[in-house]
């Protein structure tokens, strides 16, 4: 009995993972490669043949490429600031962490309140005398403004998650390393680059993987701000599943997102590899 106990405790979670993780992923792979019960790549050719595919793909990639580096820098700044604080630390941390609890849909609506035609951006511009009439920001004539609004909303919403991981990681770095560097005359910047950042690699790894995955899954923010004007991969998946009722192509889209996620996770793991012996 004692020997079986750990396995019994793991059983519910393992069974659940099997039924609701491995089995459905098997299904989605099969679904993307079959059509009407036959093995085919038609789902993929239909997907790539559709005029929205390449813009959805590149919009997603560009969003990730712009948003994630900005967030990494902001999260590092926020974490360093919090580290230096002596009073009011927990209050500031709570404020910085607030967006962590806010759903992507709500974040989209929050930024809609700013960017819509009678919204706060127009009101502020009007009060400053920049515009006399409210301007339409989120129309299809100016996709780049929608793109910018989505970027801002994403940066606003999801920096917190990286910040929290980085703050926790910084807490694990022994103070002695930094003190030693200080004794040898390293400036604050040198200490940050040569001591803190390298020791932070495991946390950076986690933060980047989580964040890049979330960026590939961007959906509700885009729908809230631009409807279907700005196509992204997850939005197209939803469209094919729901509006066009074509599960095969939706599954093909899912495979693209999955492939991107796994590929980029591996890249991050490789770039920020920490040898076993060098961990703290």
């Amino acid at each position: 009995m004692p020997r079986a106990l750990p396995y019994l405790l793991l059983l519910p979670a393992s069974l659940f993972l099997l039924v609701f993780f491995f089995y459905p992923f098997g299904l989605v792979i099969v679904e993307s490669l079959t059509r009407g019960g036959e093995w085919t790549t038609e789902n993929f050719s239909r997907m790539t043949g559709h005029w929205k595919f390449s813009s959805a793909f590149w919009n997603t990639i560009w969003l990730t490429a712009i948003v994630v580096p900005v967030q990494l820098v902001m999260a590092l700044v926020m974490a360093s600031v919090v580290q230096k604080l002596k009073t009011g630390r927990s209050g500031l941390l709570y404020i910085f962490a607030i967006p962590l609890g806010i759903s992507d849909l709500a974040a989209g609506l929050i930024w809609l309140a700013i960017f819509e035609q009678s919204g706060f951006l127009n009101s502020i511009l009007h009060a400053m005398g920049v515009v006399d009439q409210p301007r339409l920001f989120l129309g299809y004539q100016s996709i780049w403004v929608i793109f910018l609004a989505v970027c801002l909303a994403e940066i606003w919403r999801a920096t917190a998650i990286m910040m929290v991981i980085i703050v926790a990681g910084m807490g694990l770095i022994p103070k002695e390393y930094n003190e030693a560097a200080e004794v040898f005359g390293a400036t604050r910047w040198q200490r940050f680059i040569k001591v803190t950042l390298p020791l932070l690699r495991p946390s950076l790894q986690t933060a980047l993987i989580l964040r890049i995955l979330m960026a590939f899954e961007v959906f509700a923010v885009v729908v809230a701000l631009g409807g279907t004007t700005l196509p992204v991969l997850m939005g197209e998946t939803f469209q094919w599943q729901f509006q066009l009722q074509d599960r095969g192509v939706a599954a093909a889209y899912a495979m693209v997102i999955l492939g991107l996620s796994v590929a980029f996770s591996l890249v991050v793991l490789r770039l920020l590899h920490v040898p076993k012996g060098a961990r703290i």
Binding site: R3, F20, L27, V81, I98, S103, S203, A224, F238
Partner: protein, 280 residues
């Protein structure tokens, strides 16, 4: 000409300027996080006619008409109630399965332990909301389609990896010696767990349960794919985005944000411990 060169600023002046910049930076970051949320609540707490008017005031009129309109809108109360039901079920399912697994990982050494741990961590490299696509078919076959339980199962899959890793670190933080002392005093393994370990771990478990609740409460994609009649609040808001008037959107957004704010505040003490350790 050497007397023309300005005198180098004294160190204390540099320090003062630096401190000013530091606090100004903190102030900017705090505004960056809080002002957008403020705008959303200004809209939610103003009358519908004010929400669509231009230019806007930066202070709400505390007119409840928008919220009333939202509350009385067809299907809103039902969606809210569904959101609560799904989130509570998610909480129970993920902790119910995750906590035993976390306990097993922290207290036993057994073959396959590392495999299970890596498996759980690995699930994070997959875009989990996509699971909703194949599961939609599976649920139609089993009669779980468009039910609260079906969606809760998918949300539990999102929350389970966190529940396992968080409870793992929680139980690891409670010394085994306490349990062993209880055994020598005649407690069975189960009694020792209930009387000694559980009271110590309960606040942390409650915090991770709240976390599971927030994950479910905020989830958009799977909810929108899997529910038609029994929509959650996020699914309801998403699917009525292109038909609903602005006041409804903003009141709905505020209804989404408020519980999340309260919950994050409730677990703020555990936020960093949970993310920091669970993510290594």
């Amino acid at each position: 000409m050497s007397d023309v060169t300005p005198p180098a600023p004294r160190p204390e002046e540099v320090g003062r300027a630096g401190r000013f910049l530091f606090w100004a930076g903190i102030g900017l970051l705090v505004l960056w996080v809080l002002v957008p949320i403020w705008f959303l609540f200004v809209n939610a707490l103003s009358a519908p006619s004010e929400v669509t008017s231009f230019p806007k005031r930066l202070w709400p009129s505390f007119d409840m008409a928008s919220l009333q309109f939202f509350w009385n809108f067809q299907g809103v109360t039902r969606a809210l109630w569904n959101s609560v039901k799904v989130a509570v079920l998610t909480m129970i399912l993920s902790i119910g399965m995750g906590a035993p697994a976390g306990y097993a990982l922290s207290r036993f050494d057994f073959p396959g332990k590392e495999f299970f741990r890596v498996l759980v961590i690995m699930t994070r490299a997959f875009p989990l909301p996509l699971l909703a696509l194949p599961l939609a078919v599976m649920f139609i076959r089993t009669g779980l389609d468009d039910t609260v339980l079906g969606l809760a199962l998918v949300h539990a899959m999102l929350a389970l990896p966190f529940a396992v890793l968080i409870t793992y670190s929680l139980f690891s933080g409670i010394p085994v010696e306490l349990e062993e002392a209880a055994w020598t005093l005649g407690c069975t393994r189960f009694q020792a767990f209930v009387k000694v370990v559980l009271p110590l771990a309960l606040p942390g478990i409650a915090a991770s349960a709240v976390f599971a609740f927030v994950i479910s409460w905020n989830e958009v994609f799977a909810a929108a794919v899997l529910t038609i009649e029994n929509r959650t609040l996020t699914a309801f808001l998403l699917q009525s985005l292109n038909v609903s008037p602005l006041p409804l959107k903003f009141a709905g957004g505020a209804a989404l944000v408020l519980p999340a704010l309260i919950f994050i505040f409730a677990v703020r003490k555990y936020l960093f411990a949970m993310w920091g350790i669970a993510n290594r």
